[in-house]
């Protein structure tokens, strides 16, 4: 399979996981199994295979920004990098949904941060951490007053 054909598949696979997370209040267990295990495992198998097959021939390295850029100029390695994003962003999304559920944060509040994590990974994580901090601040203070 060419990297381009592989790329075409990777998006819809990841989207399945994100869709499950959006619907997670309806399917709490199934969404965690899908977005937290099945989809990341599939993507991780693809990633591992790409690295095993192409790492040895890849240009560049991790030593400098120029090396990393040279590394990502290689299509199979760039694809591996992309799949890495997809897998780990989804894992963070699943963790956000799980954590919000455990801490009693309504699903509506995490939807913008799931979208942000899907688009800009760490920005969504940062936003969710701020949301969590806000909720815990409110709960703690409410407890102190009572």
């Amino acid at each position: 399979m060419t990297p381009d054909a592989f790329f075409q598949f990777s998006g819809p696979i990841a989207m399945t996981g994100w869709l499950a997370l959006v619907l997670s209040p309806l399917i709490p267990r199934a969404s965690q199994i899908l977005a937290g295990i099945i989809v990341p495992v599939i993507l991780s198998i693809a990633y591992t295979a790409l690295i095993l097959a192409h790492w040895a021939d890849a240009p560049g390295g991790f030593g400098s920004l120029a090396d990393v850029m040279a590394l990502f100029a290689d299509p199979p390695i760039a694809l591996a990098g992309w799949v890495h994003y997809l897998a780990f962003d989804l894992l963070v999304g699943a963790w956000i949904a799980r954590t919000a559920r455990r801490e009693g944060i309504a699903h509506l509040f995490i939807l913008p941060f799931l979208a942000l994590t899907f688009l800009f990974g760490p920005a969504g994580f940062l936003g969710f951490m701020a949301l969590r901090a806000t909720f815990s601040m409110g709960r703690q203070t409410a407890k102190d007053i009572a």
Partner: protein, 275 residues
Amino acid sequence: MTLSIPARQGDTINLARVWRDAPAFTGMAVLTSLALVPLFAAMALDVRVFQGDNVWLKPVKFHLALGIYLFSLAFFARYLPRTMINGRAWRVYAAVVCFAILAELVAIGGAASLGIASHFNSSTPTMVVVYALMGVGAVTLTSASLVMGVGIWRNRTTMLAPALHLSIALGLVLTFVLTMIVAGYLSSNNGHFVGVPTTGAVVPILGWSREVGDLRAAHFVATHALHGLPLIGWLAVRFMAPRRAVLTVWAGAALYAGLVLALFNQALSGLPVIG
């Protein structure tokens, strides 16, 4: 956290109560303020300039202003009737106001990231719609001060000195009325200037033009009525007999509105606040 503010003799004001009285406004105020951390970081990294300032300066200003607004509303919520803040209608309304503020900040931040104008932008059909929606959001978020002002006005169980009670209610109502007048006109203008600045001289921190009329000065003072009037009320209660204090608050409100209209008129005449 409790802070000793002699609203009445020997009374203290519990700031932590904002979480119980207005959890949505308080939570939103905290999130709006926390977002300043990545915004300041972006301002340090980004070299793009919009109308002479770093592109991120405007989002920073709006996050600060709306954070202060939300926290102020959350604070004054303690003077609303219990039945009102425990009711479903109020909770839904507070959520709508928070959503309007979020949408406003996303629009302003998004425009900044693209390096384009958020207000007064009619360059593309999309931006025309965005600007119109921002107007709806701005009226919605400002309406919270009117709703709260009226709610506090009609609440006879606040335990506040009459003059202070009046000043809080009047301040909130005036914030809405004066902001609608000034910002309403401002939004229909082609920008916040009346005239064309040449040197770019501005008032420090506040950033208003020192060359031409700048409608933002009147907007600023109008919107801060919810702070200015209670300050007058608090001072009046401290230093005057009750009847006199109430009269002082009414006179203060008239003067405050007069000051806003004078600043508005000055800007419309193309004159700067400070030359």
